[in-house]
Amino acid sequence: MDAAVPLAGAHDTHHHGPPEANRSSRVDPQLLGMLLFIISEIMVFAAFFTAYFFIRIVGENEWPARGTELPVLVAGVNTAILLSSSLTLHWAQTSVKNGNRFGLKAGMFTTFLLGATFLLVQVNEYVHIGFSPADHAQGSVFYGLTGLHGAHVFIGLLLLGVVTVRSFRGHFSKEEHRGLEIPGIYWHFVDVMWIVVYTTIYII
């Protein structure tokens, strides 16, 4: 690394900023980055679903094993709670674009509360469900998939929490609301992913 010394001296020093990069696509770079990240996330879930179906179908296990009946109804209500948080988030996003501060604050606050409620109900379900991941492979894939999703909800809540606090402090405006858009895409992804997880684990 010592050898890097002559390199530094050879740099031009009279520049003060980069030239503006050419935009070769109409897609916003941040948006595209988030979408690609979500593709990666989908593949993580896909790997967990692979495990799920290997254990459920290829493994020819008794399904559901005794004592692994899942609370479909409670989880269904929970699904509704999580999905409605996507709606309130959309309300907040539309509000900020229309300059409606109240809508922004109320929308973000409700979204955060709904997300937190979902997570609490999920934890409550873990406590009362009556089996642990160490009991059998069914338990492992159940906790694996819902836990992976729960971790995403938790990270999403951290992001939304920051956005909520910022919106109460008067940040974001009609013109500048990217700090709300990008976590928003992530939150919608987490919600849509839950529909897949819920359908697979609880219903079919």
Binding site: M1, D2, A3, A4, V5, P6, L7, A8, A10, H11, D12, T13, H15, H16, G17, P18, P19, E20, A21, N22, R23, S24, S25, V27, P29, L32, G33, L36, F37, I39, S40, E41, M43, V44, A46, A47, F48, T50, A51, F54, I55, V58, G59, N61, A65, S132, P133, A134, D135, H136, A137, Q138, G139, S140, V141, G144, L159, V162, R169, G179
Partner: protein, 635 residues
């Protein structure tokens, strides 16, 4: 608090790591107290949490996340302040930097450090195997040697060194001032030393380093000593690094190309990294998940792989190879890009079948996802998967064959300049064809059953990863050395390096085909007397290969320190990165060039690739030469 502990940097990072260790103790003891476990202090549990949390504390301390914390909290950020951009002295290379050129050099130098560590482990392996019987390591230590050797060279050398080379040249090639996400780029780099350090430290873990091969098959890895988790968790950091870089490349290529640079005017290196990045974004999460499963099984008592509890052992191999087969293309496609660049420049001819070269890359990406189970022919999986996988594996040789023939046609009747990059490129062509042929042989189920887990496999993988990937890496490093350092390397030493490497490489790995077919098993510290003479030859040749890499190291270090100054375009190349000074100015371009033609129109009268401020670029050595036609002999 002293200023040095508040400023991002190494002091804060060290303090932060101590905090991270304290956090691990607190979390482990706290959780065990709540759950009522006894004893409260469990070394394995603390170590496990520390392996995950200390790297994050380190990265926060180093300042990798500072900007984002400020941005997310709405605190004022200073994007116009370029204090973290460009290297001011050699010390800048030891801090997070947002300049893709600094990051590229950080990547390449770090990866080569890991190459020398991995190579040293290979020397130890060959020393042990020089004669039958036990020389100086026991079988468990031997298993550790080859496991760390493979893991370092795959996850911390071949994959990141390509990312490093592309990091340096790709934004220049497409006429961009930097990558799309410079701070993410810095973070991707700093995840690498974390992962590599973790894998090397595994030798100090109780019970020795991880010893389950780089494939870490369950249930072997579930029951291995603690050292296994240095791999399980280290791979997560390396994987996160490559996903972040791939995402960055894709966004950069899609949104930041110079005006006029349509997809079919992009240099093939850009195409290659575009394809590779697609593979990384889609496939790498699977290796992350496979290691999550192992970690959950090991640490929280999950039963993903416990057959007695309904788990599925083969599922590990499916998930693992669904990443790791595309990963062999992740380790090869960027090399294809490098080869296409060098062959066109050194043959003074356009790349033959440019569009087919691009399409064949995409075909490899698509087909790469359909062949994973050919690694599992003898695993006991469902037999009906075997024939479809054999067929798709044979088919994937077609787009690869298209590339080989295109390269040969590019050289056909060209004015070949046989300097070091070209020698390595041609060495790659021959060696990769040999490795590819043994690959197609291995796709055939009957042959695989015969040679599975023998040295034939070792020979094949080294022909494609050493003779294939590593030769393209050497070619690329020599080719862009003048651009990256502003100095010329020593051509004589370069040629010496090539011939030593080429001869000793073949002497090392060609005999492995023979002893493999005769049945010498791989991954075993001892072997039968009948293989003794061949193994002695192989070991001696391997030491020769090791010595040849010292020639390379000396050449690089000495030339970087005191080589003659390089011109901006010593190879008379047309692509944009050669049209700026060597090394390029801090923000790459005074103004973004306009692209008006293809990148490889060597020898085509009147053809122009890029226009800088109204004057067409040339293949001449000067920075802004007069408008001459491409490929006109000017040297």
């Amino acid at each position: 608090m002293p200023v040095t502990l508040r400023q991002p940097g190494w002091s804060r990072a060290s303090a932060s790591m101590v905090l991270g260790l304290a956090f691990s103790y607190a979390l482990s003891i706290g959780a065990r107290a709540i759950l009522g476990y006894d004893p409260l202090l469990d070394g394995e549990s603390v170590m496990r949490i520390a392996l995950i949390s200390v790297p994050f504390f380190f990265l926060v301390g180093l300042g990798c996340f500072s900007y984002w914390f400020r941005w997310a909290s709405g605190a004022p950020t200073v994007p116009e302040d370029h204090s973290g951009h460009g290297a001011k002295s050699w010390k800048s290379y030891f801090y997070p930097n947002t300049d893709h050129k600094v990051i590229g050099i950080q990547y390449v130098v770090t990866s080569f450090f890991f190459m020398f560590v991995g190579g040293l482990l290979a020397m130890l392996i060959r020393a042990e195997l020089a004669a039958p019987g036990r020389q100086f390591v026991d079988s468990n230590a031997y298993n550790g040697l080859f496991s760390v050797h493979a893991s370092l060279l795959i996850f911390l050398f071949i994959i990141p060194v390509f990312a490093g080379l592309a990091n340096y040249v790709l934004p220049l090639m497409i006429g961009a001032p930097d990558m799309a996400f410079p701070r993410l780029n810095a973070l991707s780099y700093w995840l690498l030393p974390v992962a590599g350090t973790m894998m090397m430290l595994s030798f100090f873990a109780p019970g020795g380093s991880f010893a389950t091969g780089w494939t870490a098959y369950a249930t072997l890895s579930n029951t291995a000593p603690l050292g296994q988790e240095f791999f399980t968790i280290g791979v997560q950091f390396a994987g996160a690094s490559s996903i972040a870089t791939a995402l960055n490349f894709l966004v950069t290529i899609i949104t930041m190309r110079a005006p006029g640079m349509s997809f079919f005017r992009m240099p093939l290196l850009v195409w290659a990294n575009f394809s590779t990045s697609l593979l990384v974004v889609i496939a790498t999460p699977f290796v992350a998940a496979s290691q999550f499963f192992v970690l959950l099984d090991r640490s929280l008592g999950f039963n993903f792989f416990d057959h007695g509890q309904g788990g599925d052992v083969l599922m590990y191999q499916h998930v693992f190879w669904f990443y790791s087969h595309p990963a062999v293309y992740i380790m090869m496609l960027p090399g294809f890009g490098i080869v296409s660049e060098i062959l066109a420049v050194k043959s003074r001819k356009p790349v033959f079948g440019y569009r087919m070269m691009a399409f064949s890359l995409l075909a490899i990406v698509a087909l790469g996802f359909t062949v994973w189970a050919h690694h599992m022919f003898v695993s006991g999986m469902q037999t009906w998967i075997r024939v479809p996988m054999m067929v798709t594996t044979a088919i994937i040789a077609v787009p690869t064959g298209i590339k080989i023939f295109s390269w040969l046609a590019t050289m056909w009747k060209g004015v070949l300049k046989l300097d070091t990059p070209m020698l390595f490129t041609m060495g790659f062509l021959t060696m990769f064809v040999l490795g590819g042929i043994s690959g197609v042989m291995l796709a055939m189920i009957p042959l695989t059953i015969h040679v599975s887990d023998t040295y034939f496999i070792v020979a094949h993988i080294h022909y494609v990863l050493f003779g294939g990937s590593l030769f393209t890496i050497f070619a690329g490093v020599y080719f862009w050395f003048p651009k990256m350092t502003g100095r010329m390397y020593d051509e004589k030493l370069g040629k010496l390096h090539f011939w030593l490497t080429f001869i000793f490489f073949n002497a090392t790995f060609a005999p492995m085909h023979v002893i493999g077919v005769q049945g010498m098993p791989r991954r075993v510290a001892d072997y039968a007397e009948q293989f003794a003479s061949w193994n002695l030859v192989i070991s001696l040749a391997a030491f020769g290969t090791g010595i040849s890499s010292l020639v390379f190291a000396y050449n690089m270090v000495a030339s970087w320190r005191g080589g003659p100054r390089a011109e901006s375009n010593p190879w008379r190349s047309l692509t944009l990165e050669w049209q700026v000074s060597s090394p390029p100015p801090i923000f790459n371009f005074d103004e973004i060039p306009t692209v008006v033609g293809g990148p490889y129109e060597y020898g085509v009268p009147g053809a122009v690739h890029g226009v800088f401020g109204g004057s067409p670029t040339t293949a001449g050595p000067g920075r802004r030469g007069p408008a001459t036609t491409a490929g006109a002999p000017s040297a």
